[in-house]
Symmetry: C2
Subunit: 287 residues, 2 copies
């Protein structure tokens, strides 16, 4: 179905936020003709002024969309599914689409299930979020430190997967991996969503403005991601609700174990938990 990466020369970015803008910036720098659809003209103007895109518009038209053979969706999950439902008719035959969505079970079957048979959707998740949102925070250098996860299903072709793997590669991601949508959502529930929950909760515990002057690196590190886009993350959490609840409960179980050991003065359990965390954390420093 696909025609070899070098023949995809016109790329459409739908949604010019921090991630969509960074894709546009990098792909333009690589010589692609990059177009964009955004809700606000000011976003298009910013991207044009900064040389991120060759052209763009706010209106979704058949004439514009049908010019592109590769389309990247950088929208929130629901907006992405709605867009496909409403406009998929505009794609050119043989187009390949991909996304950046941070949850997969809530999006991939829905989109693949309704998509035209002559268009292939290869789902991907660039794990390169930041605390800030909006095209003015676009910066493709963040990819160098980040992972790019492809989550294909049995509906995907080897050529489609390879095309998106190549996309992740030229965008400059440090590491590219392939996971099932289930394994992806479990992993994200633990590594990303649970950590954001913890940061939010820690920051909500007390009026810490007066504590700021005493704060060392520990509290600062654990709460960096407490500065959060509440609309996006609430949608992501709800779209992965069962997995996130499981991960929260796992964390609560282990937290109760440490709390009970402390309450009972059970030094050996406390030390054992710390030895385990120290051992496991050591694998992260080698990277």
């Amino acid at each position: 179905m696909t025609k070899g990466f070098i023949n995809y020369r016109r790329v459409l970015i739908v949604g010019l936020g921090m991630i969509g803008g960074s894709y546009a910036q990098k792909l333009t720098a690589l010589g692609f003709e990059v177009g964009a659809l955004a809700r606000r003209q000011s976003t298009i103007d910013y991207a044009l002024e900064h040389g991120f895109i060759a052209h763009g518009q706010t209106e979704v038209t058949r004439e514009y969309v049908s010019q592109f053979d590769l389309v990247v969706f950088a929208l929130y999950p629901k907006a992405f599914v709605d867009w496909i439902r409403q406009y998929q008719d505009f794609f050119q035959p043989g187009a390949v689409i991909t996304d950046v969505t941070g949850v997969k079970r809530a999006v991939v079957p829905a989109v693949q299930g309704m998509l035209r048979p002559d268009v292939e959707f290869v789902p991907a998740h660039p794990m390169a979020g930041r605390e800030r949102s909006g095209v003015e925070y676009a910066d493709c250098r963040v990819f160098a430190d980040a992972n790019f996860i492809i989550t294909p299903t049995e509906r995907n072709s080897p050529e489609g997967i390879e095309l998106v793997r190549t996309l992740g590669c030229i965008l400059g991601f440090r590491h590219i991996a392939v996971l099932s949508i289930e394994a992806h959502d479990e992993m994200i529930g633990f590594l990303s969503q649970l950590t954001h929950c913890i940061a939010v909760v820690l920051m909500d515990c007390k009026d810490s403005e007066k504590l700021a002057e005493y704060t060392g690196d520990s509290f600062r590190d654990l709460t960096r991601i407490a500065r959060i886009n509440e609309n996006m993350w609430t949608e992501l959490f709800l779209d992965n609700r069962d997995e996130l609840l499981s991960q929260m409960d796992l964390f609560l179980d282990k937290f109760a174990q440490l709390r009970d050991a402390l309450k009972a003065g059970d030094e050996e359990t406390m030390k054992e938990m710390m030895r385990l965390s120290t051992y496991r954390r050591s694998f992260f420093d080698k990277k």
Copy 2:
């Protein structure tokens, strides 16, 4: 009782770990004559070779201890209290002692309660810990980013407090504050001990070695301090047990609130908690 900072020229560091070694390094660089007591001769040798100290020994003798007019205790809490009980007779009359202990209610009344009336103990807590321990990780540059908390009691003299404030100042701490021992232990329970509990628990949740390749900055930031000296931290946690349990329960309450909102699909509560965390976290970025 005290004789003015400039007249304290001989400083004894008891315990040459990461913090004690960093004190020694900086005070030597400032021109003080720094001596040390350590358990192992290899520690003394390392500190001598690196020019951190002028001399040192492993045996606690009256002849050695009585030479110093300022003594800094960089020991674990229990070891500090035991040292005072066993050797306080060796101090010279009018000596001032201070410490670096991370818990205060478990240490300060015990030491001040038994101390000779002609010696003053001014408690302090340099909040400059690192994941590594031992004199080979001593590096006084860490003070530049750290807070120095003095926790005097009604037994302390204004001159003694001022002396230790000056000590924190010349060591190069970014910020010097004065707190009661109760306020200190509450603050530490929340900002430092609770965050270490969270990091340890998060790392203990699952065998994450295979997750390391997917790990973004969030998980990495939240678990940096999961690499932990289990003997020191278990002692610190137990010495602050009531406060730490309160802080853990506060965190658990708020965590349950977010979990229940997620389970119920209560978007408004979720967003409200995220807006609050975002607002509060913003004060930390200004520093």
